[in-house]
């Protein structure tokens, strides 16, 4: 390699950055084995998820159907179980969690992003401590408290806990997004006589849709996918959310895989669809969403 290459390389950077990246990292030579590796890894990784879909489309137990793919299991599952109720419960809990989480975290994130003093430092520290506490420690006292005020086996109870569990990460995510909005925009609004609240709502919040969406997706995944809180607090079939419903149903019908997997498909479809449609807010907008607990 001669020094003459360097200036050439630099002009390429200036004109076509995308092509430049490809040159550095791959070259045509490397492309195909990389593609193959990714293809094989993705295929292996997706086996468990593909199995769920595949099994759910098999003919039901005792069915006379000879079609390779049927929706019998789905028909059976909706007629024989309360999966409709569980789904409605899950949806209600999740939607309300998302709404409250965004409404509470949006202004709180603004404080974290813009204010600078000791109180905010303390607030920031509280958020971090809360995030590292094990859920199982909080569940026991909350169970005792909720039992006393009638929130055990109650969807309101689990919703309250979900909102609390989303808080730290939701606030960080909103604050991280506000950091990308120049403060000059608000200062201009203040000059024009806008209050802090007015500047926040009319200037900052208006430009924060990607941040809000990202936070909402995070809260959605947390509330929709949670098992531990639901299994502790929800005690009767009509109050089950999908995770407890599926697990209970699985315990009772462990051999009827078609039925079990039909419930599983119903459960994983909303987050997968949501994520497929809105994933650009994750890939572009960031990773904050990945702070969801698993």
């Amino acid at each position: 390699m001669t020094t003459a290459v360097a200036p050439h390389g630099l002009t390429t950077v200036a004109s076509t950055p995308a092509g430049k990246r490809a040159d550095i990292y791959t070259g045509l030579r490397g492309r195909w084995w990389r593609f193959l590796v990714i293809l094989v890894v993705t295929a292996v990784v997706l086996v468990p998820i593909a199995s769920v879909v595949f099994l759910s489309l098999q003919p039901a137990l005792g069915s006379t159907s000879t079609a390779p793919i049927t929706l019998e299991n789905f028909a059976n599952v909706f007629s024989q179980t309360s999966v409709g109720t569980w789904m409605a419960n899950s949806l209600a809990v999740t939607v309300i969690t998302v709404l409250i989480a965004v409404i509470v975290a949006a202004p709180a994130g603004y404080v974290l992003s813009r204010a600078r003093n000791r109180l905010v430092s303390g607030y920031s520290l509280v958020l971090f401590i809360v995030q590292s506490l094990p859920v199982v420690t909080a569940v026991i006292p909350l169970f005792i408290l909720f039992a006393a005020i009638g929130l055990v086996d109650n969807l309101v109870g689990v919703t309250i806990i979900y909102v609390g569990s989303t808080m730290s990460v939701a606030i960080w995510m909103m604050a991280a997004y506000y950091d990308s909005i120049p403060i000059a925009l608000e200062e201009a609004a203040w000059m024009d006589g806008c209050s802090v609240l007015g500047g926040f709502v009319r200037v900052v919040l208006r430009n924060s849709l990607p941040g809000i969406l990202s936070t909402a997706i995070f809260a959605f995944l947390l509330a929709w996918n949670d098992y531990l809180i639901a299994v502790v607090f929800l005690r009767s079939d009509p109050n089950y959310t999908l995770p407890v419903g599926l697990e209970t149903f699985f315990q009772q019908n462990a051999t009827n895989w078609g039925l079990v997997m039909a419930v599983a498909v119903v459960m994983m479809l909303p987050p997968v669809l949501l994520f497929s449609v809105l994933n650009r807010y994750f890939s572009v907008g960031g990773i904050g969403g990945s702070l969801a607990g698993r």
């Binding site: 600078r116 806990i161 909102v163």
Partner: protein, 319 residues
């Protein structure tokens, strides 16, 4: 939004400096100060009330519970550190602690290695790269109850697909969830499968912030690709790496459904982690005091590990 700002915030939170440095005065105009301060307090107040009620109150209450002999209904009497003495002298506790360490170490580094490798591959231009990115995130998006059910179907009984495959390959009768050691391995692999997309996202976003021109310069200077990776890429993504380790450590130590839904803690308690042990002690054996004490000991260790890793971050905080 970027990883870095979340990352910075985490670090500052730990360092106790918040987002605003070391408590210097607000740069805002003095005339606005009061109204502005009140507005900001009002902004933060709802979240603070929620955090205190849902997150901090229970932990304080749990601290009280851990030194009493009550149950879920009765508060019981003060028993000092009897609960702690009881659990610390119980071999089941130490077995659970040991498995928690195995689970966490494999979970963190397994998912990190795979996530980093995939992030490096996906950084290059690959046909259909965007589709692969979404597909590879699915294990993290799909509810763990669903994936645990599916893994059960794949491995649980001798008639499941994977044991049948092992049989066909001449490996004999492989009992993935019935053999204690194999069950531990299976649970750890399951955790890595669930968690690598998180690491992939963290690492992708860190890699995206690395200036590609640096590689060209290194190449001109005669650096090999391994040298480029170890001397350029790694130092530049070191901070995000440490933060992702810390977060994943917290996720793994606190993880309940991954283990509980796949094995229930068995066979013969081989996959019982501290969280599963705490859950069983409280909700299956109805011993609140010892159960909460387990959770507290666990929290303490978690905080120590987090602090140790954070110190490390501040050392590599160059950028």
């Amino acid at each position: 939004m970027s990883t870095n700002s979340v990352v910075n915030r985490l670090q500052r939170a730990k360092a106790g400096v918040g987002v605003g440095g070391s408590g210097s005065a607000s740069p805002r105009k003095k005339g606005r100060f009061s109204a502005r301060t009140w507005t900001l307090i009002a902004f933060a107040l709802p979240s603070l009330i929620l955090l205190l009620l849902i997150n901090l109150y229970p932990v304080i209450y749990a601290g009280i519970q851990s030194v009493r002999n009550g149950d879920l209904i009765d508060a019981g009497n003060f028993v000092g550190f009897a609960n702690y003495a009881k659990i610390l002298s119980d071999p089941a506790f130490w077995a659970a602690a040991q498995f928690t360490v195995i689970f966490t170490v494999t979970g963190v580094f397994g998912s990190w290695l795979i996530g980093l490798a995939l992030a490096l591959l996906l950084r290059t231009r690959i046909p259909g790269g965007g589709v692969f990115k979404v597909l590879l995130l699915l294990p993290w998006v799909v509810p763990v109850v669903v994936s645990a059910t599916s893994w059960n179907w794949l491995v649980a009984t001798p008639q499941s697909p994977l044991p049948m495959l092992a049989q066909a390959l001449g490996l004999g009768n492989v009992l993935f969830l019935a053999n204690p050691v194999l069950a531990q391995v299976t649970v750890c692999v399951f955790k890595v499968w669930i968690s690598f997309p998180f690491m992939m996202m963290m690492m992708s976003s860190a890699l995206a912030s690395v200036d590609v021109n640096v590689y060209e310069a290194a190449k001109v200077d005669g650096a090999s690709s391994w040298q480029s990776f170890s001397h350029i890429t790694m130092p530049l993504i070191a901070r995000t790496t440490y933060v992702s380790w810390i977060l994943m450590t917290i996720f793994c130590v606190n993880d309940f459904p991954t283990i509980f839904l796949l094995t229930g803690g068995g066979p013969v308690n081989s996959t019982t982690s501290l969280v599963v042990l705490a859950y069983r002690t409280v909700f299956q054996n109805f011993q609140t005091g010892p159960g909460v004490a387990i959770a507290f000991v666990m929290t303490l260790v978690l905080v120590v590990i987090s602090v140790a890793l954070y110190r490390q971050i501040r050392k590599v905080n160059i950028e």
